[in-house]
Protein backbone atom coordinates (compact mmCIF):
# COMPACT_ATOMS: atom_id res chain seq x y z
CA UNK A 1 0.00 0.00 0.00
CA UNK A 2 2.83 2.37 0.98
CA UNK A 3 4.78 1.59 -2.19
CA UNK A 4 1.64 2.12 -4.29
CA UNK A 5 1.16 5.54 -2.69
CA UNK A 6 4.78 6.47 -3.39
CA UNK A 7 4.43 5.40 -7.01
CA UNK A 8 1.20 7.34 -7.47
CA UNK A 9 2.84 10.48 -6.03
CA UNK A 10 5.92 10.08 -8.23
CA UNK A 11 3.69 9.67 -11.30
CA UNK A 12 1.75 12.78 -10.27
CA UNK A 13 5.03 14.70 -9.99
CA UNK A 14 6.05 13.48 -13.45
CA UNK A 15 2.69 14.58 -14.90
CA UNK A 16 3.13 18.05 -13.35
CA UNK A 17 6.61 18.34 -14.85
CA UNK A 18 5.34 17.22 -18.26
CA UNK A 19 2.64 19.87 -18.00
CA UNK A 20 5.28 22.47 -17.29
CA UNK A 21 7.26 21.52 -20.35
CA UNK A 22 4.10 22.01 -22.43
CA UNK A 23 3.25 25.31 -20.78
CA UNK A 24 6.80 26.71 -20.85
CA UNK A 25 6.09 28.69 -24.01
CA UNK A 26 3.80 30.99 -21.98
CA UNK A 27 5.78 31.73 -18.86
CA UNK A 28 9.27 32.77 -17.78
CA UNK A 29 11.82 30.05 -18.39
CA UNK A 30 15.33 30.40 -16.99
CA UNK A 31 18.30 28.10 -17.29
CA UNK A 32 20.75 27.72 -14.46
CA UNK A 33 24.11 26.11 -13.88
CA UNK A 34 26.34 25.70 -10.84
CA UNK A 35 30.01 24.90 -11.07
CA UNK A 36 31.45 24.23 -7.64
CA UNK A 37 34.90 23.22 -6.49
CA UNK A 38 37.45 23.80 -3.80
CA UNK A 39 39.92 22.44 -1.34
CA UNK A 40 39.25 20.87 2.03
CA UNK A 41 41.74 19.95 4.76
CA UNK A 42 40.00 16.61 5.19
CA UNK A 43 39.17 15.66 1.59
CA UNK A 44 41.71 17.69 -0.41
CA UNK A 45 40.41 18.70 -3.86
CA UNK A 46 36.62 18.55 -3.95
CA UNK A 47 33.91 19.04 -6.56
CA UNK A 48 31.17 20.05 -4.15
CA UNK A 49 30.88 21.80 -0.83
CA UNK A 50 29.60 18.66 0.86
CA UNK A 51 27.04 21.00 2.42
CA UNK A 52 24.42 21.11 -0.28
CA UNK A 53 26.31 22.71 -3.19
CA UNK A 54 27.06 20.41 -6.13
CA UNK A 55 27.86 20.77 -9.81
CA UNK A 56 24.49 20.98 -11.49
CA UNK A 57 22.53 22.22 -14.50
CA UNK A 58 18.82 22.88 -14.51
CA UNK A 59 16.00 25.29 -15.11
CA UNK A 60 13.29 27.31 -13.42
CA UNK A 61 9.88 27.93 -14.89
CA UNK A 62 7.61 30.52 -13.32
CA UNK A 63 4.17 31.51 -14.48
CA UNK A 64 1.19 33.53 -13.30
CA UNK A 65 -2.23 32.48 -14.54
CA UNK A 66 -4.73 35.33 -14.84
CA UNK A 67 -8.12 36.20 -16.28
CA UNK A 68 -10.14 39.44 -16.38
CA UNK A 69 -10.64 39.20 -12.61
CA UNK A 70 -6.90 38.97 -11.91
CA UNK A 71 -4.41 36.28 -10.93
CA UNK A 72 -5.91 32.97 -9.88
CA UNK A 73 -2.92 30.64 -9.89
CA UNK A 74 0.90 30.74 -9.74
CA UNK A 75 3.30 27.98 -10.71
CA UNK A 76 6.99 27.50 -10.02
CA UNK A 77 9.11 24.55 -11.08
CA UNK A 78 12.81 24.46 -10.44
CA UNK A 79 14.91 21.35 -11.03
CA UNK A 80 18.55 20.49 -11.61
CA UNK A 81 20.59 17.51 -12.73
CA UNK A 82 23.35 17.24 -10.15
CA UNK A 83 26.67 15.50 -9.84
CA UNK A 84 28.00 14.59 -6.40
CA UNK A 85 31.73 13.96 -6.63
CA UNK A 86 31.83 12.20 -3.26
CA UNK A 87 29.84 9.34 -4.80
CA UNK A 88 30.84 7.12 -7.70
CA UNK A 89 29.21 5.60 -10.79
CA UNK A 90 25.47 6.06 -11.22
CA UNK A 91 25.18 6.93 -7.53
CA UNK A 92 26.88 10.23 -8.28
CA UNK A 93 24.06 11.54 -10.50
CA UNK A 94 20.60 12.64 -9.47
CA UNK A 95 17.68 14.88 -10.33
CA UNK A 96 16.97 17.55 -7.70
CA UNK A 97 13.48 19.03 -7.69
CA UNK A 98 13.67 22.19 -5.61
CA UNK A 99 10.47 24.13 -6.19
CA UNK A 100 7.50 22.33 -7.70
CA UNK A 101 4.37 24.05 -6.50
CA UNK A 102 1.06 25.53 -7.53
CA UNK A 103 -0.51 28.41 -5.58
CA UNK A 104 -4.29 28.75 -5.83
CA UNK A 105 -5.55 32.20 -4.83
CA UNK A 106 -8.36 31.87 -2.32
CA UNK A 107 -8.87 35.60 -1.90
CA UNK A 108 -6.77 38.74 -1.72
CA UNK A 109 -4.30 37.84 1.00
CA UNK A 110 -4.67 34.08 1.09
CA UNK A 111 -3.58 31.16 -1.04
CA UNK A 112 -3.48 27.38 -0.96
CA UNK A 113 -0.22 25.75 -2.06
CA UNK A 114 0.34 22.20 -3.26
CA UNK A 115 3.59 20.54 -4.28
CA UNK A 116 7.22 20.73 -3.10
CA UNK A 117 8.03 23.80 -1.03
CA UNK A 118 9.61 24.97 2.22
CA UNK A 119 8.01 23.95 5.51
CA UNK A 120 6.48 26.94 7.33
CA UNK A 121 9.36 27.30 9.77
CA UNK A 122 12.12 29.87 10.21
CA UNK A 123 13.78 31.96 7.51
CA UNK A 124 13.84 29.28 4.81
CA UNK A 125 10.37 30.11 3.38
CA UNK A 126 11.50 33.74 2.91
CA UNK A 127 15.01 33.39 1.51
CA UNK A 128 16.06 31.77 -1.73
CA UNK A 129 19.10 29.69 -0.72
CA UNK A 130 19.04 27.10 -3.49
CA UNK A 131 22.17 28.52 -5.12
CA UNK A 132 23.76 30.31 -2.20
CA UNK A 133 26.81 29.17 -0.26
CA UNK A 134 25.11 30.57 2.84
CA UNK A 135 22.23 28.44 4.01
CA UNK A 136 19.62 28.88 6.70
CA UNK A 137 19.27 26.56 9.69
CA UNK A 138 16.76 24.34 7.84
CA UNK A 139 19.14 21.54 6.80
CA UNK A 140 20.51 21.09 10.30
CA UNK A 141 17.18 21.65 11.99
CA UNK A 142 14.69 19.71 9.86
CA UNK A 143 17.09 17.68 7.71
CA UNK A 144 15.87 19.14 4.41
CA UNK A 145 14.80 22.49 3.01
CA UNK A 146 11.70 21.53 1.07
CA UNK A 147 9.03 18.86 1.36
CA UNK A 148 5.96 17.60 -0.50
CA UNK A 149 2.48 18.49 0.71
CA UNK A 150 -0.13 21.20 1.20
CA UNK A 151 0.23 24.70 2.59
CA UNK A 152 -1.92 27.71 3.29
CA UNK A 153 -0.98 31.34 3.89
CA UNK A 154 -3.05 34.29 4.97
CA UNK A 155 -3.20 37.60 6.80
CA UNK A 156 -4.14 37.98 10.45
CA UNK A 157 -4.50 41.68 11.17
CA UNK A 158 -1.00 43.13 11.01
CA UNK A 159 0.55 39.66 10.92
CA UNK A 160 1.25 37.16 8.14
CA UNK A 161 0.83 33.47 8.81
CA UNK A 162 1.43 30.22 6.97
CA UNK A 163 0.84 26.58 7.82
CA UNK A 164 1.87 23.39 6.04
CA UNK A 165 1.09 19.68 6.18
CA UNK A 166 3.80 17.70 4.40
CA UNK A 167 5.20 14.21 4.03
CA UNK A 168 8.32 14.63 6.16
CA UNK A 169 10.44 12.99 3.48
CA UNK A 170 12.23 16.04 2.03
CA UNK A 171 13.44 15.99 -1.57
CA UNK A 172 11.83 12.72 -2.60
CA UNK A 173 8.40 11.24 -2.09
CA UNK A 174 8.72 8.46 0.45
CA UNK A 175 6.46 6.73 2.93
CA UNK A 176 8.13 4.81 5.75
CA UNK A 177 7.30 4.47 9.42
CA UNK A 178 4.30 6.87 9.35
CA UNK A 179 6.30 9.95 8.35
CA UNK A 180 4.57 13.37 8.24
CA UNK A 181 5.42 16.97 9.04
CA UNK A 182 3.23 19.81 10.35
CA UNK A 183 4.58 23.36 10.57
CA UNK A 184 3.37 26.89 11.13
CA UNK A 185 4.84 30.37 11.19
CA UNK A 186 3.44 33.75 12.17
CA UNK A 187 5.35 36.96 11.53
CA UNK A 188 5.18 40.69 11.28
CA UNK A 189 4.37 41.88 7.78
CA UNK A 190 6.87 41.09 5.06
CA UNK A 191 6.27 44.54 3.58
CA UNK A 192 8.35 46.02 6.40
CA UNK A 193 12.13 46.06 6.40
CA UNK A 194 12.16 44.56 9.90
CA UNK A 195 10.50 41.20 10.27
CA UNK A 196 10.10 39.01 13.32
CA UNK A 197 8.74 35.49 13.00
CA UNK A 198 7.74 32.71 15.37
CA UNK A 199 7.50 29.11 14.18
CA UNK A 200 6.45 25.70 15.44
CA UNK A 201 6.98 22.27 13.92
CA UNK A 202 5.84 18.75 14.81
CA UNK A 203 6.15 15.50 12.90
CA UNK A 204 7.96 12.31 12.08
CA UNK A 205 10.64 12.88 9.43
CA UNK A 206 12.84 10.62 7.35
CA UNK A 207 16.53 11.31 6.84
CA UNK A 208 17.87 10.54 3.36
CA UNK A 209 21.54 10.05 2.59
CA UNK A 210 21.31 11.88 -0.77
CA UNK A 211 19.69 15.24 -1.39
CA UNK A 212 17.88 14.57 -4.64
CA UNK A 213 14.49 13.45 -5.80
CA UNK A 214 15.19 10.87 -8.51
CA UNK A 215 16.53 8.21 -8.16
CA UNK A 216 14.88 7.70 -4.81
CA UNK A 217 17.54 8.41 -2.17
CA UNK A 218 18.63 5.80 0.35
CA UNK A 219 17.34 6.27 3.87
CA UNK A 220 19.82 6.57 6.71
CA UNK A 221 17.32 4.68 8.84
CA UNK A 222 13.98 2.99 8.22
CA UNK A 223 12.69 4.60 11.38
CA UNK A 224 11.35 8.13 11.31
CA UNK A 225 12.44 10.70 13.91
CA UNK A 226 9.83 12.41 16.06
CA UNK A 227 10.65 16.12 15.86
CA UNK A 228 9.23 18.92 18.02
CA UNK A 229 10.45 22.47 17.50
CA UNK A 230 9.86 26.09 18.28
CA UNK A 231 11.77 28.78 16.44
CA UNK A 232 12.29 32.50 16.22
CA UNK A 233 13.68 34.49 13.30
CA UNK A 234 14.46 38.13 12.67
CA UNK A 235 15.81 40.16 9.77
CA UNK A 236 16.48 43.87 9.53
CA UNK A 237 18.78 46.47 8.04
CA UNK A 238 21.45 47.30 10.61
CA UNK A 239 23.00 50.63 9.69
CA UNK A 240 24.74 49.82 6.37
CA UNK A 241 24.36 46.07 6.75
CA UNK A 242 21.62 43.53 6.19
CA UNK A 243 21.21 41.30 9.22
CA UNK A 244 19.45 37.96 9.53
CA UNK A 245 19.22 35.55 12.41
CA UNK A 246 17.19 32.56 13.51
CA UNK A 247 17.18 30.04 16.34
CA UNK A 248 15.35 26.77 16.86
CA UNK A 249 15.03 24.47 19.85
CA UNK A 250 13.16 21.26 20.59
CA UNK A 251 13.46 17.49 20.67
CA UNK A 252 14.44 14.66 18.34
CA UNK A 253 13.00 11.43 19.74
CA UNK A 254 13.12 12.95 23.22
CA UNK A 255 16.71 14.29 22.90
CA UNK A 256 17.03 18.05 23.43
CA UNK A 257 18.39 19.73 20.29
CA UNK A 258 18.87 23.31 19.16
CA UNK A 259 20.90 25.82 17.28
CA UNK A 260 21.14 29.28 15.81
CA UNK A 261 22.35 31.14 12.76
CA UNK A 262 23.40 34.77 12.32
CA UNK A 263 24.36 36.45 9.08
CA UNK A 264 25.47 39.91 8.08
CA UNK A 265 25.83 41.28 4.56
CA UNK A 266 27.51 44.39 3.15
CA UNK A 267 27.48 45.83 -0.36
CA UNK A 268 30.61 47.70 -1.40
CA UNK A 269 29.39 51.27 -2.13
CA UNK A 270 31.82 51.96 -4.96
CA UNK A 271 31.52 48.49 -6.50
CA UNK A 272 27.97 47.38 -5.96
CA UNK A 273 28.45 44.16 -7.91
CA UNK A 274 30.46 42.93 -4.93
CA UNK A 275 29.03 41.80 -1.61
CA UNK A 276 30.74 40.64 1.53
CA UNK A 277 28.89 38.24 3.78
CA UNK A 278 29.63 36.56 7.06
CA UNK A 279 27.66 33.77 8.66
CA UNK A 280 28.01 31.74 11.79
CA UNK A 281 25.88 28.67 12.27
CA UNK A 282 25.58 26.43 15.32
CA UNK A 283 23.68 23.20 15.81
CA UNK A 284 23.66 20.57 18.51
CA UNK A 285 21.94 17.18 18.26
CA UNK A 286 22.19 16.90 22.02
CA UNK A 287 22.59 19.95 24.17
CA UNK A 288 24.02 17.70 26.90
CA UNK A 289 26.70 16.09 24.72
CA UNK A 290 29.48 18.40 23.50
CA UNK A 291 30.54 15.82 20.91
CA UNK A 292 27.30 16.31 18.99
CA UNK A 293 27.64 19.96 18.15
CA UNK A 294 28.73 21.83 15.01
CA UNK A 295 29.87 25.44 14.92
CA UNK A 296 31.05 26.93 11.63
CA UNK A 297 32.21 30.38 10.59
CA UNK A 298 31.67 31.15 6.94
CA UNK A 299 32.86 34.38 5.29
CA UNK A 300 31.81 34.75 1.64
CA UNK A 301 32.68 37.20 -1.11
CA UNK A 302 30.25 37.41 -4.00
CA UNK A 303 30.85 39.25 -7.25
CA UNK A 304 28.34 39.66 -10.06
CA UNK A 305 30.32 39.14 -13.28
CA UNK A 306 27.37 39.91 -15.56
CA UNK A 307 23.59 40.11 -15.43
CA UNK A 308 23.46 36.34 -15.33
CA UNK A 309 26.69 35.11 -13.82
CA UNK A 310 27.92 35.38 -10.26
CA UNK A 311 31.21 34.22 -8.79
CA UNK A 312 31.26 33.27 -5.12
CA UNK A 313 34.09 32.23 -2.85
CA UNK A 314 33.56 30.98 0.68
CA UNK A 315 35.72 29.74 3.51
CA UNK A 316 34.22 27.16 5.88
CA UNK A 317 35.98 27.13 9.24
CA UNK A 318 34.69 24.52 11.68
CA UNK A 319 35.23 25.67 15.25
CA UNK A 320 33.49 22.51 16.47
CA UNK A 321 32.35 19.47 14.54
CA UNK A 322 30.89 16.11 15.45
CA UNK A 323 33.10 14.66 12.69
CA UNK A 324 36.66 15.78 11.95
CA UNK A 325 36.87 19.54 12.11
CA UNK A 326 37.49 20.86 8.65
CA UNK A 327 38.69 24.01 6.93
CA UNK A 328 37.52 24.37 3.38
CA UNK A 329 37.65 26.90 0.56
CA UNK A 330 34.87 26.66 -2.00
CA UNK A 331 34.52 28.60 -5.24
CA UNK A 332 31.26 28.63 -7.13
CA UNK A 333 30.27 29.98 -10.51
CA UNK A 334 26.52 30.42 -10.83
CA UNK A 335 24.62 31.12 -14.02
CA UNK A 336 20.92 32.01 -14.15
CA UNK A 337 19.51 33.37 -17.39
CA UNK A 338 16.99 33.01 -20.18
Amino acid sequence: MVKTTENILLIAAAVILAGVSYAAAEGDFYKEALITGGYSDNDQWIGSSGRGMRNAVGFEYFRKFSDEYGDYMTMDIQMRFAYEDRESGDDAFGLEIHNAWLDFNTGLGSALRVGHFSPAFGLEPLIDTHSSLLQTLAMKNIGFKKDWGLGYRGLLGDFDYQVAAQLGSGMSIMAEDDNYLLSGRISTSQTRDKQLGLSVLYGRTLQASEMWTIPKPRLMSNESVLKKRVGIDYQSPLWLFDFKTEAAFGEDDGETVGGAMAQIEYTLPQQQRTKLKMQTIYWSDSLEDKNLRDLTLLPVIEHQLSDTTTLRAGYYHDLHSRKDEDKMVVVQLYYYGK
Binding site: S66, L108, L155, T191, L240, D242, T267, D307, Y336, G337
Partner: protein, 218 residues
Protein backbone atom coordinates in the same frame (compact mmCIF):
# COMPACT_ATOMS: atom_id res chain seq x y z
CA UNK B 1 21.02 9.19 -16.35
CA UNK B 2 24.48 10.19 -17.63
CA UNK B 3 23.13 10.41 -21.19
CA UNK B 4 20.28 12.64 -20.07
CA UNK B 5 22.70 14.97 -18.30
CA UNK B 6 24.97 15.16 -21.36
CA UNK B 7 22.01 16.09 -23.58
CA UNK B 8 20.88 18.67 -21.08
CA UNK B 9 24.34 20.31 -20.92
CA UNK B 10 24.53 20.45 -24.73
CA UNK B 11 21.10 22.06 -24.78
CA UNK B 12 22.25 24.62 -22.24
CA UNK B 13 25.32 25.54 -24.26
CA UNK B 14 23.42 25.76 -27.56
CA UNK B 15 20.45 27.71 -26.22
CA UNK B 16 22.24 29.93 -23.73
CA UNK B 17 22.69 33.58 -24.53
CA UNK B 18 19.68 35.60 -23.50
CA UNK B 19 20.17 36.91 -20.03
CA UNK B 20 17.89 38.03 -17.28
CA UNK B 21 18.56 39.94 -14.10
CA UNK B 22 16.58 40.18 -10.92
CA UNK B 23 13.78 42.74 -11.05
CA UNK B 24 11.87 44.42 -8.27
CA UNK B 25 8.86 42.50 -7.05
CA UNK B 26 6.76 43.20 -3.98
CA UNK B 27 7.65 41.13 -0.92
CA UNK B 28 4.02 40.81 0.04
CA UNK B 29 1.82 42.04 -2.84
CA UNK B 30 -1.49 40.91 -1.31
CA UNK B 31 -0.96 42.97 1.82
CA UNK B 32 0.43 45.98 -0.06
CA UNK B 33 -2.47 46.07 -2.47
CA UNK B 34 -5.06 45.65 0.27
CA UNK B 35 -3.45 48.55 2.14
CA UNK B 36 -3.02 50.82 -0.88
CA UNK B 37 -6.35 50.02 -2.53
CA UNK B 38 -9.00 49.11 0.06
CA UNK B 39 -11.54 48.59 -2.74
CA UNK B 40 -9.37 46.12 -4.62
CA UNK B 41 -10.80 42.66 -5.21
CA UNK B 42 -7.70 41.24 -6.87
CA UNK B 43 -4.75 42.17 -9.06
CA UNK B 44 -3.01 40.93 -12.16
CA UNK B 45 0.76 40.45 -12.23
CA UNK B 46 2.89 40.92 -15.33
CA UNK B 47 6.64 40.85 -15.82
CA UNK B 48 7.74 43.15 -18.65
CA UNK B 49 11.21 43.86 -19.99
CA UNK B 50 12.42 46.72 -22.19
CA UNK B 51 14.08 44.11 -24.37
CA UNK B 52 10.80 42.35 -25.14
CA UNK B 53 8.77 45.55 -25.59
CA UNK B 54 11.08 47.54 -27.82
CA UNK B 55 14.70 46.47 -27.51
CA UNK B 56 17.56 48.91 -27.97
CA UNK B 57 15.32 51.59 -29.54
CA UNK B 58 13.08 51.68 -26.50
CA UNK B 59 16.10 51.68 -24.20
CA UNK B 60 17.48 54.74 -25.99
CA UNK B 61 14.13 56.53 -25.87
CA UNK B 62 13.69 55.76 -22.18
CA UNK B 63 17.16 57.07 -21.40
CA UNK B 64 16.40 60.22 -23.39
CA UNK B 65 13.22 60.82 -21.39
CA UNK B 66 15.06 60.11 -18.15
CA UNK B 67 17.95 62.36 -19.15
CA UNK B 68 20.45 59.79 -17.98
CA UNK B 69 22.08 56.53 -19.03
CA UNK B 70 20.93 53.27 -17.52
CA UNK B 71 23.27 51.68 -15.03
CA UNK B 72 24.39 48.10 -15.78
CA UNK B 73 24.00 46.46 -12.35
CA UNK B 74 20.37 47.39 -11.68
CA UNK B 75 19.05 48.51 -15.09
CA UNK B 76 20.05 46.07 -17.78
CA UNK B 77 17.78 45.88 -20.83
CA UNK B 78 16.30 42.53 -19.76
CA UNK B 79 15.45 43.36 -16.16
CA UNK B 80 11.87 42.14 -15.67
CA UNK B 81 9.75 44.94 -14.22
CA UNK B 82 6.80 43.69 -12.17
CA UNK B 83 3.49 45.42 -12.78
CA UNK B 84 0.53 44.81 -10.52
CA UNK B 85 -2.66 45.98 -12.20
CA UNK B 86 -5.15 46.51 -9.39
CA UNK B 87 -8.74 45.47 -10.07
CA UNK B 88 -12.16 46.05 -8.58
CA UNK B 89 -13.93 43.09 -10.12
CA UNK B 90 -13.04 43.62 -13.80
CA UNK B 91 -12.26 47.35 -13.60
CA UNK B 92 -8.72 48.70 -13.38
CA UNK B 93 -8.44 51.03 -10.37
CA UNK B 94 -4.68 51.47 -10.27
CA UNK B 95 -1.17 50.13 -10.62
CA UNK B 96 1.59 49.18 -8.23
CA UNK B 97 5.08 48.91 -9.65
CA UNK B 98 8.63 49.01 -8.40
CA UNK B 99 12.12 49.66 -9.72
CA UNK B 100 15.60 48.95 -8.49
CA UNK B 101 17.79 52.01 -8.25
CA UNK B 102 21.45 52.29 -7.38
CA UNK B 103 21.86 54.09 -4.07
CA UNK B 104 24.96 55.27 -2.27
CA UNK B 105 25.28 52.13 -0.14
CA UNK B 106 23.49 49.57 -2.30
CA UNK B 107 20.33 48.93 -4.26
CA UNK B 108 17.12 50.74 -3.38
CA UNK B 109 13.66 49.37 -4.18
CA UNK B 110 11.21 52.19 -4.95
CA UNK B 111 7.52 51.31 -5.04
CA UNK B 112 4.82 53.53 -6.51
CA UNK B 113 1.07 53.13 -6.33
CA UNK B 114 -0.80 55.15 -8.94
CA UNK B 115 -4.37 55.52 -10.06
CA UNK B 116 -5.34 54.28 -13.51
CA UNK B 117 -4.23 57.62 -15.00
CA UNK B 118 -0.71 57.38 -13.58
CA UNK B 119 -1.15 59.91 -10.74
CA UNK B 120 0.82 58.90 -7.64
CA UNK B 121 -1.30 57.77 -4.70
CA UNK B 122 1.53 56.51 -2.54
CA UNK B 123 5.27 56.01 -2.59
CA UNK B 124 7.48 53.95 -0.30
CA UNK B 125 10.90 52.33 -0.10
CA UNK B 126 10.70 48.56 0.04
CA UNK B 127 14.46 48.61 0.60
CA UNK B 128 16.92 51.38 1.33
CA UNK B 129 20.36 51.12 2.92
CA UNK B 130 21.30 54.51 4.28
CA UNK B 131 22.40 56.02 7.60
CA UNK B 132 19.45 58.39 7.14
CA UNK B 133 16.90 55.84 5.97
CA UNK B 134 14.36 56.98 8.59
CA UNK B 135 14.28 60.46 7.08
CA UNK B 136 13.81 59.06 3.59
CA UNK B 137 11.07 56.69 4.73
CA UNK B 138 9.27 59.42 6.70
CA UNK B 139 5.84 60.59 5.57
CA UNK B 140 7.17 64.17 5.50
CA UNK B 141 9.21 63.15 2.49
CA UNK B 142 7.27 60.32 0.81
CA UNK B 143 4.00 62.29 1.17
CA UNK B 144 5.37 65.02 -1.11
CA UNK B 145 5.07 62.65 -4.05
CA UNK B 146 1.31 62.27 -3.70
CA UNK B 147 -0.83 63.61 -6.54
CA UNK B 148 2.16 64.11 -8.83
CA UNK B 149 2.42 62.47 -12.23
CA UNK B 150 4.97 62.20 -14.99
CA UNK B 151 3.69 65.58 -16.26
CA UNK B 152 5.33 67.38 -13.31
CA UNK B 153 8.57 65.45 -13.83
CA UNK B 154 8.66 66.46 -17.50
CA UNK B 155 7.51 70.07 -17.21
CA UNK B 156 8.76 71.39 -13.86
CA UNK B 157 11.88 71.29 -11.72
CA UNK B 158 10.67 68.54 -9.43
CA UNK B 159 13.48 69.12 -6.94
CA UNK B 160 11.95 72.50 -6.17
CA UNK B 161 8.81 70.76 -4.95
CA UNK B 162 10.46 67.80 -3.27
CA UNK B 163 13.38 68.80 -1.08
CA UNK B 164 16.17 66.55 0.15
CA UNK B 165 15.19 65.22 3.62
CA UNK B 166 18.74 64.13 4.44
CA UNK B 167 21.67 66.07 5.82
CA UNK B 168 24.60 64.12 4.40
CA UNK B 169 23.11 61.75 1.84
CA UNK B 170 22.01 63.86 -1.07
CA UNK B 171 23.25 61.10 -3.39
CA UNK B 172 20.39 58.90 -2.16
CA UNK B 173 17.95 61.77 -2.59
CA UNK B 174 18.99 62.33 -6.21
CA UNK B 175 18.86 58.58 -6.80
CA UNK B 176 15.33 58.46 -5.38
CA UNK B 177 14.07 61.24 -7.66
CA UNK B 178 15.73 59.57 -10.64
CA UNK B 179 14.25 56.18 -9.75
CA UNK B 180 10.74 57.56 -9.35
CA UNK B 181 10.97 59.32 -12.70
CA UNK B 182 12.20 56.13 -14.33
CA UNK B 183 9.37 54.23 -12.69
CA UNK B 184 6.78 56.67 -14.10
CA UNK B 185 8.35 56.65 -17.59
CA UNK B 186 8.18 52.87 -17.71
CA UNK B 187 4.60 52.86 -16.42
CA UNK B 188 3.67 55.31 -19.18
CA UNK B 189 5.36 53.12 -21.76
CA UNK B 190 4.13 49.74 -20.59
CA UNK B 191 0.65 50.54 -19.26
CA UNK B 192 -0.56 54.02 -20.19
CA UNK B 193 0.12 54.02 -23.94
CA UNK B 194 2.54 56.95 -23.65
CA UNK B 195 -0.16 59.42 -22.60
CA UNK B 196 2.50 61.69 -21.04
CA UNK B 197 4.66 61.86 -24.17
CA UNK B 198 2.89 65.07 -25.21
CA UNK B 199 4.51 66.86 -22.25
CA UNK B 200 7.98 65.49 -22.96
CA UNK B 201 7.86 66.22 -26.67
CA UNK B 202 6.05 69.56 -26.20
CA UNK B 203 9.17 71.67 -26.75
CA UNK B 204 10.31 69.40 -29.55
CA UNK B 205 6.88 69.70 -31.27
CA UNK B 206 6.91 73.46 -30.75
CA UNK B 207 10.38 73.66 -32.32
CA UNK B 208 9.26 71.53 -35.28
CA UNK B 209 6.21 73.77 -35.83
CA UNK B 210 8.40 76.87 -35.73
CA UNK B 211 10.75 75.29 -38.26
CA UNK B 212 7.79 74.40 -40.50
CA UNK B 213 6.47 77.97 -40.20
CA UNK B 214 9.86 79.40 -41.17
CA UNK B 215 10.00 77.08 -44.18
CA UNK B 216 6.49 78.21 -45.25
CA UNK B 217 7.57 81.86 -45.01
CA UNK B 218 10.66 81.16 -47.10
Amino acid sequence: MKKAITIFIINLIVCGGLFAAVGCTLNDPDRDIRRLFPKATNYKTEFITIKERGGEELLKETQKKLGDKFEPVYESIDVPYAYYTVLHKKDIIGYVHGVNQKGRFGGMQLILATNSAGVILDFYYQKITSPESKKFRGKDFTGLLKNLSLKEFYTTDIKEKIKDPSEKNSQDYHATIRGIKKNLILLDEFKLENKYDKYFYKDENKQNKENDHEKDND
